[in-house]
């Protein structure tokens, strides 16, 4: 007998996001209704929630880079990043992000996932560089276009990371797969898994790379929208 009520938490999350409510209370409510429909008492739910929150503190460690980034911004780091690109002939937002995609994916494939990221590299360097490249051809870059360039900078970091890291044999997802199959009596070598991640990695590079080059055209000509 399936307990369909267990899916109520998922419904809460979906509705909360659709209504654009503040996600923190939505997530807490989802945990509560899920726990209740599994027959847990509220104290047990809050305890389980608190324990998992504490166990996952490392997710939040990345914020320790902000004092450095903020301090350098105070002295003009973003302006410097823009100036560097503005002098580079032939640099466009799309080509620049394509270069970043290749670098990000390459390092991730070597297991070096934390050397770049939204706080460490995208905000201080990649986004201002891409923006400067876009603004060079289009002095009147409007806010929508500027936001689109920034959003693509973040998207490029994600795509490079996700479709690079699985080529590295000792990454979490590979170890998870090996562990899952070992429990089910099938022995898999991590190297086999990382080899089969390569076709998808190449396709990710081709698909996202093409979209990046198209981004230049979609932003329009000089001063255009």
């Amino acid at each position: 007998m399936t307990n369909w009520l267990l899916l109520s938490g998922i419904a809460v999350v979906v509705i909360g996001f659709l209504l654009r409510l503040n996600p923190l209370p939505v997530v807490a409510a989802a945990a509560l209704v899920t726990g209740l429909s599994a027959g847990l008492d509220p104290v047990a739910i809050v305890s389980a929630f608190g324990r998992a929150f504490n166990d996952n503190r490392y997710v939040n460690l990345i914020w320790i880079v902000l004092p450095v980034i903020g301090l350098l911004e105070r002295y003009g780091l973003q302006q410097r990043a823009g100036a560097l690109i503005a002098r580079l002939r032939g640099a466009t937002a799309g080509r620049l992000l394509l270069a970043y995609l290749i670098i990000r994916q390459g390092f991730a494939a070597l297991g070096l996932t934390s050397i770049a990221g939204h706080a460490q590299t995208v905000r201080p360097l990649v986004a201002p560089m891409a923006e400067a490249a876009a603004a060079r051809e289009r002095p009147l870059l409007d806010r929508d276009s500027r936001d689109r360039v920034r959003a693509f900078a973040a998207a490029t970091d994600n795509v490079g990371l996700f479709f690079g890291e699985d080529i590295f044999v000792a990454i979490g997802s590979i170890l998870l797969i090996v562990g899952f199959f070992a429990q089910n009596g099938i022995t898999l070598a991590p190297l086999q898994l990382s080899l089969w991640a390569i076709p998808s990695a190449i396709l990710a590079l081709l698909i996202h790379g093409t979209r990046l080059l198209m981004l230049d055209r979609r932003l329009g000509g000089p001063g255009g929208r």
Binding site: Y58, L61, I64, H118, L203
Partner: protein, 312 residues
């Protein structure tokens, strides 16, 4: 040996400083809300292991309450203006990149060189190297630029306030995943996927596996949560045992189908929502919108790759 708890203490002290500086910041009408939020986060980093499970849960509920009732504002610490920054950037030149590049360079060097040094806990060497890079970069920047005292903390607080409550969303969603696992949500979803499967049609089975990985990842925000569920329900019994598919192909590309889902969901907050705050974008879904055009064709490609490569 330096362990992760040192880094937690470092982060805790930074957030404690943000709390004190927020409380003193009269530019922020909601300064005590910010002070309370950062103080609770400091407590979590400094004393989380001594609070007990229920204590941590109550701490989390207080954070949720502050965010839910809109108690957080945005402090505006004194910083330099755009024209000043242009001038400063021209004066300091490309050397400004140096401290910024110290962080990735230290992370890289530490990960490669310090794993067996006995200095760092080998299991956490990358995060610890990142922390080392931050400390070195701070020292280099302070010696070279000679900023006013507290400037690094005030600039950090400026960025932290611009992120606000979104800063703890990734950690909360990870905690929600743990509650889902405890309640057995995965088994229900897996059973559902198994039930809608038509008999004997290989392509349909591959499609349900790949799309199910993506969909369940969209719901959970994490392909790691989706993988055991979907593979136990569809991948292992039907694709591998039933049709003789190569387990390495099914698993590797199945996981990457899940990653396509990660690109499309606000539940993967650290990848899709936090950058919206960091880059000050107007639309909360701007990053997801930029990723849809990559994620959907890539998901279709992964589906075909499993079908073509696993059953030769």
């Amino acid at each position: 040996m330096i362990t992760l708890s040192w880094l937690y203490a470092f982060a805790g002290l930074i957030f404690a400083a943000y709390a004190v500086l927020s409380a003193r910041d009269r530019t922020n009408g909601k300064r005590f809300g910010n002070a309370a939020f950062w103080a609770l986060l400091a407590l979590s980093f400094l004393g989380g292991d001594r609070l007990g499970d229920l204590g941590n849960g109550l701490l989390l509920l207080c954070l949720v309450g502050l965010a839910g009732f809109g108690a957080l504002g945005r402090g505006l610490p004194r910083t330099t203006g755009p024209e000043e920054r242009e001038a400063l950037s021209a004066r300091h030149g490309n050397r400004l990149f140096l401290p910024a590049l110290v962080i990735p360079a230290s992370t890289l060097a530490g990960t490669l060189l310090l794993k067996d040094s006995g200095l760092f806990d080998p299991k956490q060497v990358t995060l610890l190297s990142l922390g080392m890079g931050v400390v070195i970069a701070l020292i280099v920047a302070c010696i070279w630029l000679r900023p006013p005292p507290l400037a690094a903390l005030e600039e950090g607080r400026r960025l932290m306030d611009s992120i606000g409550w979104a800063a703890i969303l990734p950690q909360m969603l990870a905690a929600l995943g743990a509650v889902f696992a405890l309640a057995g949500v995965g088994e229900v979803v897996g059973g559902l996927a198994g039930r809608i499967l038509p008999d004997g049609n290989l392509f349909a089975a591959v499609a349900i596996y790949a799309l199910g990985m993506a969909l369940f990842t969209i719901v959970m925000g994490n392909a790691f949560a989706a993988f055991p569920v979907m593979t136990a329900a569809v991948g292992l019994p039907i694709l591998i045992r039933g049709h003789g598919g190569d387990p390495a192909v099914v698993a590797a590309i199945g996981m990457l189908s899940g990653f396509c889902g990660t690109l499309m969901t606000p539940m993967a907050a650290n990848f899709n929502i936090v950058p919206v705050a960091l880059l000050e974008l107007g639309n909360r879904n701007a990053v997801i919108k930029a990723q849809l055009g990559t994620a959907l064709p890539l998901l279709a490609a992964n589906l075909l790759l499993i079908y073509l490569l696993a059953f030769r």
